[in-house]
Amino acid sequence: MHVELLARIQFAFTAAFHYLYPPLSIGLGLLLVIIEGLWLKTRNPLYHQMARFWTRVFALTFAIGVATGLVMEFEFGTNWATYSRYVGDVFGSALAAEGIFAFFLESGFLAILLFGWDKVGPKLHYFATCMVAFGAHFSAIWIVVANSWMQTPAGYHIVGEGLHARAEITDFWAMVFNPSSMDRLMHTVIGAWQAGAWLMVSVGAFYLLKKRHRDFAFKSLKIGLVVALVASLLSLFSGHESAIGVAKNQPAKLAAMEGLWITQPNAPLHVVGWVDAKTETTHGIAMPGMLSVLAHNDPNAVVTGLDAIPRDERPPVNFTFQMFHLMVGVGLLLILLAIIGVIAWWSGRLEQSRWLLWLMTFAVLGPQIANQAGWFAAEVGRQPWIVYHLLRTSDALSKVVTAHQVLASIIMFALVYLLLFAVFVFLLNDKIKHGPDDEDLVITGRLADGLAQRKGEAE
């Protein structure tokens, strides 16, 4: 196989595997802030028990996230050396900022979050929880900014020619706030909230089905469901904003997402479909005019089709189409499930509807599928460019790395990640089976001192 294809497979595989975990860390980070905040406010020990349990789950996802994230940072240099030379001046500074502002924050305060329960007072512990969640969100900011710069470069100029050409920063803030960064950041973070929220809903629903830890399960399910509902609705808006941006900045990608071959007003939006690239046609069920609405808020607006894009600048159409539709479809189903869940909860029928609880148990897969599919659509839809309209993926490889080396490392990562994933599932299952600790209903150490003291002050 060709080295370019192998390098792309390796990056896609390691990035996709890595991205199972950061959304959980970001989402659970937010939920831990909410739960521990509720505990400090109400002093209901149930919240303390929840915070402890979900912290243990958080730690598990965080550990694998760090280990697989280090790989990503190395891979830019190992497999994409030409790209690294080209973008280092721009991309590197975002990555370095991520290290200094986000990773140190996360990993430093994680120590207090995990091991500090009995060593620090409740306020300091809560501060640490907030800092970990903040750090997780901050890391999303910098990496999405860097990736968005690859989609919609801004604030740079090109220095040198041919082999020695590279992008240099002219305006740091224009680079940070490039045309797509804020829309994509919102959409990414909201997707991550859903990953965390649905995990909580799923575990809560599972316990209700098995009639275990009823109070704990109910509280987790409710908090998870509220966050899931809000986040999934927000996703609609951030997705719409992103679509408008893609239509404006990356018309080739939008055309591929929808399999739109001919530039036209009143462009249709497919519910499902199949793209035949040979005959340049798209078959499926479509809603007339809706793509024009999605992209331009106007059913009569003209949407650019693939006919306006030179053949050697078109992304793989069917793959991008399917990934985009998978993301949208799963996203819509999650909204529906969240609404049904909230109605069932309000009408007091949640515990009786076993089918609904089973659906919720498996819904944990939903945001993961949607997040993965969304990224595949975004990254494959940018092809053949690695940096949009500046650098082709085929020109971005490491010149000195051979196909054999890449293949060897793919095999290594496949084995290592398979093992990691098996261990992750085993341990997550173990934690869920073990459930929350009843000991955690009794608050110990300096956390208890702090609370007693504050009670004393209040009296």
Partner: protein
């Protein structure tokens, strides 16, 4: 902020050096704990103490590598690209070792079966030793020089990286980290466990000093470009004096029971060794052998002054904050390790 009066390239040469120095000092002790994990511990209890001694901090220590790598990417993209693609298989092996080590720390405690724990113990120890060795081998190659072509691309082979000098530096790194880690463990443990660890400290100090002498002789004899700066500016030789004194101070403090001072001396010695490494290399980041004119330097491999200035602003804001809360986290987790239900 503007830094018109600063030689930003030199500043970033130093700052990247500082980040990697932070990494070797901090991750050095937890890698070192891994290196003696199978040897100095006798029971599951000992091993748990070892892991929990580094438990709250190893993660943050590894971030120094991530940030150092990020800073190298941003400040000297050509160096990042050349070294990471050139040392491809070595870095893949390093990643593999670091992953196994990291997950071993997390996963070992999650299941009580002895076989499960023994498996992760081996993974932790082998991962730690392999990581230390590969870091040392990479540094050894940077010191020795690697073949670069006119474009600044790596022109050697994987096996070519494994010649005696880098391997010697690799072994020295393993021994140095093991010494550093064993002193840290003496600080963090007590009773019988501490006595067992203590037996390893002196042999490791002696082993390190032997390695250090051999590496120094080899460098003086075979790596002339590393001594150039010291010949041209004899006053920088002064740095060697505190380094040697600090190394000599380690066994002295250990023998009078001042382990914390011994540990600080070890940290100081490592910082000094990194400084000597940096002075010897400057301004080269990757020395090209046999064609020194192709070397990547702080000037020809750097990002634009604009980016270096932006990053310096980021570093000036971020690093003091990082240092402040890192120090307070070490303070919160000071003292001897106690096993609780939160422990690994």
């Amino acid at each position: 902020m503007t830094f018109e009066h600063l030689d930003l390239n030199t500043v970033w040469f130093i700052l990247v050096g500082v980040l990697f120095t932070g990494y070797v000092i901090l991750d050095g002790f937890d890698l070192g704990v891994g290196a003696i994990h199978l040897l100095a511990a006798k029971s599951d209890h000992d091993r748990r103490l070892f892991l929990n001694a580094i438990g709250p901090v190893w993660d943050g220590n590894e971030v120094w590598l991530v940030t150092g790598g990020g800073a190298l990417f941003a400040a000297f993209p050509d160096v990042y690209a050349t070294v990471f693609s050139g040392f491809y298989l070595a870095f893949m092996a390093l990643l593999c070792a670091l992953i196994f080590r990291a997950v071993a720390i997390e996963f070992r405690s999650k299941h009580p079966s002895p076989r499960w724990r023994a498996g992760w113990d081996i993974s932790f120890a082998v991962g730690s030793i392999a990581s230390s060795l590969l870091i040392g081998v990479a540094m050894g190659n940077i010191v020795w020089g690697v073949p670069l072509d006119a474009q600044g691309e790596f022109a050697g082979t994987f096996l070519g990286l494994l010649h005696p000098y880098p391997l010697l530096v690799g072994v020295t790194t393993v021994v140095l980290f093991a010494m550093h880690g064993s002193i840290y463990l003496v600080l963090k443990t007590e009773g019988e466990t501490q006595a067992r660890v203590r037996r390893w400290v002196n042999p490791l100090i002696i082993a390190f000093i032997l390695c250090y002498v051999i590496v120094t002789l080899a460098t003086l004899l075979y790596v002339p470009h590393m001594t150039e700066a010291f010949r041209q500016h004899p006053w920088v030789f002064a740095i060697v004096i505190p380094v040697v004194l600090l190394i000599a101070n380690i066994p002295r403090e250990m023998n009078v029971g001042k382990e914390f001072l011994a540990f600080l001396s070890s940290c100081g010695a490592m910082a000094g060794l990194m400084a000597i490494f940096g002075i010897g290399m400057f301004p080269d980041l990757v020395y090209s052998l046999p064609a020194p004119e192709h070397s990547l330097t702080a000037h020809n491999a750097a990002s634009s002054p604009k980016t270096l200035g932006i990053m310096l602003t980021i570093a000036l804001i971020g690093v003091p904050v990082v240092l402040a809360y890192s120090a307070s986290i070490y303070y919160i987790f000071r003292g001897k390790v106690k096993l609780t239900k939160l422990s690994y």
